[in-house]
Amino acid sequence: SQELEQSPQSLIVQEGKNLTINCTSSKTLYGLYWYKQKYGEGLIFLMMLQKGGEEKSHEKITAKLDEKKQQSSLHITASQPSHAGIYLCGADIGTSGSRLTFGEGTQLTVNP
């Protein structure tokens, strides 16, 4: 969706390296969701952010929502091959949670 821009579109990193994926909107994000998808499978929910400045972590993955609530970043520390997949951000941009708009996704490859 053009309402939600993800960057980069694809990323290749060496195992052990850190990386960051960004999700940007021109509208206020009332809820920002991060999902991971392995090829041929469904989306797995990672975490959800709502408040400006909020930060959450799950294992080696940290997500932040900026103070203006228009950009989120997903940071992976010491990447592993198990982190490989497609990362998608989804956002509630004013529907009280009834509908989400998704970015196009970031394809992450982690080389051993």
Binding site: S1, G42, L43, F45, L88, G97, S98, G105
Partner: protein, 115 residues
């Protein structure tokens, strides 16, 4: 595991034939969604339901219809399939995350090929 199943998981059909995809949930969620996922377009909402017999259109609803006659099942129908409807279709439900926030949980997907 949000208790969502989709059937069939794979289907190959011919242009002009009707196709129905089924989404089944076991946890009595009110909201259910149908998305399609395509390269270069990401995930796009087709239709969603906010209760039995209550449905609304998403951003790519042309050529699709839905029905929800009971809470647990949400059906997506392609009345006359076209090659542009070749895609991976995902069903989702709206539930609560571990922290109590509204979150969408997805089924395993249906890969549809229209020849």
């Amino acid at each position: 595991d949000a208790g969502i199943t989709q059937s069939p998981r794979h289907k190959v059909t011919e242009t002009g034939t009707p196709v129905t995809l089924r989404c089944h949930q076991t946890e009595n969620h009110r909201y259910m969604y149908w998305y399609r996922q395509d390269p270069g377009h990401g995930l796009r909402l087709i239709h969603y339901s906010y209760g039995v017999k209550d449905t609304d259109k998403g951003e790519v609803s042309d050529g699709y219809s839905v029905s929800r006659s009971k809470t647990e099942d949400f059906l997506l129908t392609l009345e006359s399939a076209t090659s542009s409807q070749t895609s991976v279709y995902f069903c989702a439900i709206r539930g609560l995350s571990g922290s109590g926030a509204d979150t969408q949980y997805f089924g395993p997907g249906t890969r549809l090929t229209v020849l």
